[in-house]
């Protein structure tokens, strides 16, 4: 089985979000970038298929050269090789089209991605990629098993779970559950050393017009101070929630 894992390069979850150039650019100053947390779950699942079922694992990112350390980290976790499509990722649709070209050229059976990138929260690349390549698609996946060509998965639905069956070729957008938190791997020294020697190829983009573009950013309006209520006076809280906030 040939697996491709789509890796989005995002600011660490604790990052302070600021903008520059008249609020048109994300300020990367002092920001640490990481593998998108959802992609980390999917990558870990891919490692399992590699170790238990002899799959090969390629990681891919659409982005400029600054994303390479993130791809190297995925190699240190255990991916076999990496591809960087040399294009600025600004719009989910064009990213999906670039990835579709990679999928078609590489003959992958299974594409693993994350449910959403925590930067722009688009939640669109995997579904678009599946539709563009005519692969089957499961979103919000919290468990999967592959047996030959058949795949059984579960996904989260409102208030529960759904079990699905499908076949390869397949795109899966994963989240916690596809592996558990405790199964996530921190690259060790040996992995980091080996990652330096693993192939990372840079391919030129197909070049696609962006369907959407960000004109500017805004920060939420600053919030007023919290109103404190005495612990012995919960009646006052009920009163405020009922009469002032009007939420109960």
């Amino acid at each position: 089985m040939k697996i491709l894992v789509c890796i989005s390069h995002v600011p660490d979850t604790t990052s302070k979000i600021n903008f520059t150039e008249n609020d048109t650019k994300f300020d990367t100053n002092g920001v640490q970038f990481v593998i998108n947390p959802y992609d980390e779950f999917s990558l870990t699942r891919a490692m399992w298929f590699k170790e238990k079922q002899g799959a090969t694992v390629t990681v891919v990112n659409v982005g400029n050269a600054t994303t390479e350390p993130t791809l190297r980290k995925a190699l240190a976790i255990g991916a076999d090789d990496a591809i960087r499509v040399n294009a600025e990722a600004v719009d989910g649709f064009s990213v999906a089209k670039e990835l579709a070209a990679v999928v078609k050229n590489g003959g992958y059976d299974l594409v693993l991605a994350g449910k959403e990138s925590i930067d722009y929260n688009g939640g669109m690349v995997p579904g678009m990629l599946a539709a563009l390549t005519d692969f089957n698609f499961v979103n919000g996946c919290v468990g999967m098993e592959v047996d030959g060509n058949s795949v059984t998965l579960s996904r989260e639905i409102d208030g529960g779970n759904e079990t699905l069956s499908t076949s390869l070729p397949l795109v899966v957008a994963g989240q916690k559950g596809i592996v558990e938190e405790k199964d996530l791997r921190i690259p060790n020294m040996r992995g980091i050393m080996m990652a330096r020697k693993k192939p990372l190829s840079v391919v030129e983009p197909v070049g696609i017009d962006n369907a959407t573009s960000i004109q500017s950013f805004e920060k939420p309006a600053p919030k007023g101070a919290v109103k404190l209520v005495d612990a012995d006076n919960v009646d006052e809280l009920i009163n405020l929630l009922h009469n002032e906030a009007k939420v109960i």
């Binding site: 649709f93 678009m128 079990t163 573009s213 960000i214 919030k223 009922h242």
Partner: protein
């Protein structure tokens, strides 16, 4: 030219977000000087949508669509958009809509903006405000394609009544070859889900152990609320994964979010910040949650919560 809204339903009953997306569709149609058409799949009573401004409702009743299937549903929506000459398609942010919208975008070769929180700020260029960086910011996004898809964030635009005399007609769609089959659906019944809830009662590691969740469930029940928890609580197995909320868990956009024994880490706040009113109950006055909350009680959950339950019961009874 028209605006097509997919009004989602469960077991024939419209979700609340269906009324919100129709209200929103009406607004967008006004801005564009066109009309709004709602599409329903297996909904019982299409006429409920007239109240929110849908002049025309398309009903699809094919039994093969009884169970949600993203590719099939996306195909039906795409066919309706084409048949109605819709240049804007609007969906809500339910788990199922998030699943199908990217497929519709490819089918229609349309630019897709998800997490939209308000009416377009301009229709030329078509510009919408979206949540970004997990609620820590917004982006003003231009959709450049002729056809456009908008995913509306829950509880952002609100439900607005705008009664019209509507008509409904059945819509026949060709079914797509789906490739993915639903084998089993397990849903907790009789419990409010986080996605549907107006009020969410959430608790964290401050509760010390799973045996102490009785009072959280009781508080939720009194309020008709859903229960949720912080990430460590589900990682420790005290509560099911489905309750984990935050940046890497479920998003919460409720009217009221009550956080009990939750410190208010940046990753937790990122996922719940879209809620309108936030209440924190925590022993530590320095807990970061107090900076994010609207109302707060500095106190021990084991004392405050039982009192709150008692007083709320009296309040509800009065």
């Amino acid at each position: 030219m028209s605006v097509l809204v997919f009004a989602d339903s469960t077991d024939g009953k419209f979700k609340k977000t269906a009324f919100e997306v129709v209200s929103y569709g009406k607004k967008v149609a006004e801005q564009l000087g066109s009309n709004v058409i709602a599409l329903t799949i297996k909904a019982n009573d299409a006429s409920e949508l007239y109240k929110y401004g849908a002049e025309k409702v398309l009903t699809v009743s094919n039994d093969a669509l009884n169970t949600f299937n993203a590719k099939e549903y996306a195909s039906v929506i795409s066919q309706a958009a084409t048949a109605q000459n819709a240049d804007v398609v609007i969906v809500d942010a339910s788990i199922d809509s998030l699943y199908l919208a990217p497929i519709v975008a490819v089918n229609l070769e349309a630019g897709y903006a998800s997490n939209v929180v308000d009416a377009p700020t301009s229709t030329s260029p078509f510009t919408v405000k979206r949540k970004a960086f997990s609620n820590k910011a917004f982006s003003n996004t231009v959709i450049a394609t002729d056809k456009k898809i908008i995913g509306l964030a829950k509880n952002s635009f609100g439900i607005h009544e705008n009664p019209v005399t509507g008509t409904s007609e059945s819509f026949e769609a060709t079914l797509a070859e789906s490739g993915v089959k639903s084998e089993k659906i397990e849903r907790v019944t009789g419990k409010v889900t986080i996605a549907d809830a107006d009020i969410v009662v959430s608790a964290g590691r401050g509760l010390k152990g799973p045996e102490n969740w009785g009072m959280i469930e009781e508080l939720a029940e009194v309020l008709g609320a859903a229960t949720a928890c912080s990430k460590p609580v589900s990682d420790l197995g005290w509560r099911p994964h489905g309750e984990h909320v935050g940046q890497t868990g479920k998003p919460v956009a409720a009217n009221l979010y009550i956080a009990i024994g939750i410190s208010g880490a940046i990753q937790h706040l990122a996922g719940i910040n879209a809620s309108k009113v936030k209440v924190v109950i925590n022993t530590d006055p320095e807990a970061p949650f107090f900076k994010a909350a609207d109302y707060g009680i500095v106190g021990d959950a084991f004392e405050v919560v039982p009192k709150l339950i008692e007083k709320l019961k009296a309040f509800k009874a009065s």
